[in-house]
């Protein structure tokens, strides 16, 4: 056990640090740590510029092989990058689905030619990908999806509807799970594709979210054509490919973004409570200590998982705990932050950079994080079944052809 760098690691860290300090702004030099209030267009162009800069300097998708636009880094080097980058204010929020989920799936299932075509622009942030999985009737129960795919010759025709598709409105490509055989059992009749979001028959309609923004969408498919070459995995094997995607999603999800221990601590050091600084208050210290332990526990859990990865072990669903813990922590910290600011905490500030905004955005964001990419409840199921080996839930849909399973609309 050694939390210090080896000589090589120290060298790598210095290289990372030098590059970041020349190209990015330290969080502590800024009013707040992210860009909570920036409009989507501005944020996107900023993020694209940043991604291209990373790519051009060889810092994009560290762990990908270099022929696909990555750096071929070791897991430990990723940790070091993450540690150093966390000190800086780094634009993001657009490429995670592509680089974290679609990329790894293409790497496993696409042809060499497709990998050479799609991975580098994904790494560079030139092309953005979205995840077309959830449907109105299939979220937690993803395998209950109904969007239909029919093969004729070499071409598939897609009809149906997806929902909650983050970033569909600015995405160039999407990964899509469909039902190719409704008479097979639920998990057996699925087929997985990627497609061009500009294909005729794809219609994206924004959904207004609780925060007032509209980052996710409904996506309608009307006779959308997909060439068979864009199928990933065998016909009827889509569930397996989807699971690979979801496993990567859980690895890719970092901590919930928003104010964390340090922000809450700073806030408590700068505000009065009961006639003294809030940080002097016992109940404030109690909460801060809990959050510190959670943040630090998650940080080192991630490191331990990386150590397992370096030893060649496949990281299991252990990674699920990150989202449960950080989503709930964010929700608590957001409420705490506003509470500290007393009645003024809920007033929408003029400037997006104002302290209130970070907590107000976290207040809404956390509610979404606890649902997106597997709800808290589903993740607890995954931990109990896949990590601890407890029995699966009793299911009412086992062994039945998909088209005979009871559903909300029936």
């Amino acid at each position: 056990m050694d939390f210090n760098d080896t000589t090589e690691e120290a060298k790598f860290r210095k290289e990372v640090g030098d590059w970041l300090s020349a190209n990015a702004t330290l969080k502590e030099d800024e009013e707040s740590g992210s860009y909570p209030g920036m409009g989507e267009d501005d944020a996107l162009s900023l993020a694209k510029k940043w991604a291209a800069k990373l790519y051009d300097s060889g810092w994009a998708c560290l762990h990908w092989p270099s022929e696909y636009g990555g750096r071929g880094s070791t897991p430990i080097e990723r940790v070091i990058w993450g540690q150093e980058a966390s000190k800086y204010r780094i634009p993001g929020g657009f490429f995670e689905i592509g680089q974290g989920m679609a990329g790894p799936v293409l790497m496993m299932y696409a042809t060499e030619e497709q990998k050479k075509r799609y991975l580098p622009p994904m790494a560079k942030g030139e092309e953005i990908w979205c995840q077309l999985f959830s449907e109105p009737g299939a979220g937690s129960d993803l395998a209950g999806l109904k969007t239909k795919s029919v093969l004729e010759g070499d071409t598939w025709t897609i009809n149906g509807q997806k929902i909650w598709t983050s970033g569909a409105h600015y995405s160039d490509y999407g990964i899509l799970v469909t039902r190719s055989d409704a008479s097979a059992q639920k998990h057996k009749g699925l087929t997985y594709f990627f497609l061009d979001m500009k294909s005729p028959g794809v219609e994206v309609r924004p959904i207004k979210q609780i925060s007032g923004g509209a980052n996710f969408n409904e996506v309608y498919f009307t006779d959308v054509k997909i060439p068979d070459e864009q199928r990933l995995g065998s016909v009827g094997d889509g569930w397996k490919v989807a699971l690979t995607t979801l496993m990567n999603e859980r690895l890719a999800v970092g901590d919930a973004s928003g104010p964390d221990f340090q922000e809450a601590f700073n806030l408590a050091c700068g505000h009065d409570l009961n006639g003294d600084l809030a940080i002097k208050d016992g109940s404030v210290r109690d909460k801060l200590a809990d959050w510190y332990c959670q943040s630090s526990g998650l940080k080192y859990t991630k490191y331990r998982n990386i150590s397992a990865l370096s030893r060649g072990e496949t990281p299991g669903p252990q990674a699920s705990i990150t989202k449960i813990v950080s989503g709930n922590k964010l929700q608590e910290i957001a409420n705490f932050g506003m509470d500290i600011m007393d009645a003024a905490g809920i007033v929408r500030p003029e400037s997006a950079d104002a302290e209130q905004n970070m907590y107000q955005m976290g207040f809404f964001g956390a509610a979404g994080i606890r649902i997106a990419g597997g709800t808290d409840e589903i993740l607890r199921n995954i931990i109990s079944e896949q990590v601890l080996g407890l029995p699966q839930d009793m299911r009412a849909d086992k062994g039945i052809p998909f088209n005979e399973i009871p559903s909300s609309n029936k």
Binding site: M1, D2, F3, N4, D5, T6, E9, I76, V79, I80, F265, C269, I279, G282, R285, D286, L288, A289, D290, Y292, C293, Q294, S296, G297, L298, K299, Y300, T301, Y303, R304, I306, S307, A308, Q318, I321, I324, V325, E377, R380, N381, I383, S384, E385, V387, L388, G389, L390, P391, Q392, D393, M394
Partner: protein, 370 residues
Amino acid sequence: MNFEFSSDQMLLKDQARKFLESEESVKKAREVLEGEQTYDESLWRSVIEMGWTATTIPEEFDGLGLGYLELCVIAEELGRSLAPTPFSSSVYLATEALISLGSNEQKQSYLPRLATGEIIGTLAHTESTSSPSVENLTCELNGNKLNGTKIAVTDGDIANFAVVSAKEGEKAVLCLVDLSTKGVEITSQNTLDPSRSHASINFKDAEADILGADVDGWIALQEILDRAAVLFAFEQLGGAEACMNMAKEYAMGRFAFGRPIASFQAIKHKIADMYIAVELARSNCYFGAWALSTDAPELPTAAATSRVSASKAFHECSKENIQTHGGMGFTWEFDCHLYYRRCRQLAANIGSQAVWKNKLISSLERANQI
């Protein structure tokens, strides 16, 4: 960087676990709880034979001179198996106090005998139901005479000597007291966890030898407690994980409504939450172990973080383990309560959760000022 114990350390851990299982440590904890003896002497002798009491004692004082990482993995297994021995008092507290503060003469006199288990030590700090502070300490050292009373001293009726906190004038000091010396009166105290012995100790002009003559006793004590906190946290971690596993096993075998209770989500999610608490604690403990073993500047923060999260994990797991067992969990016969009791004992014996949370935030305040 490498965030795991080495394969040698994992082997040691595995051996320790198997050894404690073969010694039927949990059963012995129950026997001590139910019987008259204050600890299990045969288990203690075996622990000594394994060399564990000598782990971190330098070779020049007849110890093994191993690192703290080794001691951490042993601690986890002792916690998992509820070992009813004075190990924590003698090793994490008394031995460590001597290693860090003892004069060469004191080390010569105590450490070799601690290594061989010939003597047992403990820390006597608590005086009342108020959490101790420099201001409220009432034990007094005058010259080499100690007066006052300590209570809830873990292993106080087993130990041969104690490291005692006291006031010398306005300042806090630590001193070594031979517990068989004239003027020392020991009275066993019944506690919630009789699988570990406790006593009150009254000192009347008892002869005491100052420990760490040229240091601030209060600060020195906090440093000792920080180091011990990591080791206690590993015991708590082991206990927490044992409870999680007990809950899991019971839930798999117990049927209700025609199915194993482990298939009810309320139970599954409860056990998933135990797992989360244990994993967070484990990760924090690993960082604590590293900070302890390297004497890193982060030690005070890392120690408090390990302690707070391991206390929390053990609390969660030991109470929800009882819940998972239903009525069986509330019986004397099942082992659930042994862990529930030990959890409370470990949570109390080097300061409460509130104290450690406050230490954690204070250490972060200091770190943020730099």
